[in-house]
Homo-oligomer: 233 residues x 2
């Protein structure tokens, strides 16, 4: 049959969660699930009779708490997946991925692409022509680079790597604060205000340094909780 692909939104932190599944085998993955939306996500998995195989994080989030561990209580066979550089999360996660890892969901493959820069351990995930960019590439913007091992130099290189994907590749970020839901690599190369194709690395670093953002409200709670995959001690 077909790929089930659902974008889900959490309004407080403007986080997008993604549900990916094979409608034949019923195998499923959830990406960047948020603790306060777990009832919604669990209901959807149950209604669609999905077998949750992977609970995937694009990175250690600073603005909300993941529902990875709490979800796993209901789906004990699910594997928690996170980027290999997130050494603090090694104890709670099941699969530490780096470049080129393949996660199989029925007949679909989710491929990993290392995209450090927002944090040291950011991973983007590609399924069919849909690219989940986490906080690396936003719609018309990018993630910040001022904590958790962030580096504007690395983020520039990561996004250049994503820009090599076909222009028609659909971009699904982990956040949008302006109600945009998806974009394409072609659009971002042309219109991204931080890193459009014509900007060199120096221009991008200047843009990132000029962001001047306050710290996320929940950072002191969220980062340690997410280093434990959502288990709050």
């Amino acid at each position: 049959m077909s790929l089930i692909f659902k974008q889900l939104f959490e309004r407080e932190s403007c986080t997008y969660t993604y549900l990916i599944a094979d409608s034949d085998s019923k195998e499923a993955a959830i990406v960047d699930a948020v603790d306060i939306m777990m009832d919604r996500d669990k209901a959807l998995l149950e209604e669609l009779e999905l077998d949750l195989k992977f609970i995937i994080e694009t990175h250690i989030h600073a603005d909300h708490i993941t529902s990875a561990c709490p979800l796993k209580k209901y789906y004990p066979n699910a594997r928690i997946v996170i980027g290999m550089e997130n050494v603090d999360a090694e104890a709670c996660s099941d699969i530490m991925v780096n470049e080129g890892h393949i996660l199989n969901i029925g007949k679909y493959e989710i491929a990993t692409i290392e995209t450090p820069g927002h944090t040291i351990g950011c991973i983007s995930y590609l399924v069919e022509n849909k690219l989940l960019t986490g906080d690396a590439l936003f719609i018309r913007s990018t993630g910040r680079c001022d904590f958790q091992g962030g580096s504007a130099e690395s983020l520039y290189d990561s996004i250049q790597k994503l820009f090599k994907l076909p222009d028609t590749t659909e971009v699904y970020p982990a956040h949008d604060y302006n109600g945009l839901s998806m974009s394409t690599i072609g659009e971002e190369k042309k219109f991204n205000t931080m890193i459009k194709e014509s900007y060199d690395q120096k221009a991008f670093i200047k843009n990132v340094n000029n962001l001047n953002l306050g710290l996320p409200k929940k950072i002191k709670v969220a980062v340690p909780a997410n280093q434990s995959c959502g288990l709050i001690s």
Copy 2:
């Protein structure tokens, strides 16, 4: 090439706006555009070099103000489209539609389906396999029926009509309050808490009567403004 289909969100009233376009001809339609998001929507139309042909309303909204008239100032050739029963909006709209009207966007056809019940003049719009249901059918719920000529009896009949579409038809509502973005007719027939397939008209009317909702905060401003297609006197 292909259909451009973008779902856009306004967080205050949890409204979904839709941008529909033919990537070849660049002809476009926007459905249920919100006044406070006009700058975002205009920027997107400009970036994608779209020629706005139709500004479409699913109904006279009570919870937010449309940007129809303000948008038309920038796109004077665009036609404002609304259901024929909305007689108060006749003066400001260009095309009053009823069942079976076809709006052409390049090689794509947007077909109208009368779905009264939430209000007397609600229209759903179908393009390819994507159904824009306005406030008739929500994801796992339905619109309320207690003002603007609302009728639970009519809404039941309207949704039964939508339920005759193929199960794979994708459902895109005008609102979701729980971060769900899309569904299918098959899912709603099974899981809609107000009107799943096994509920008869009597059960649905009881469910609607039990909603017990307060009036939308902006109703006294929004309804008259939207009867003027977003012109506030």
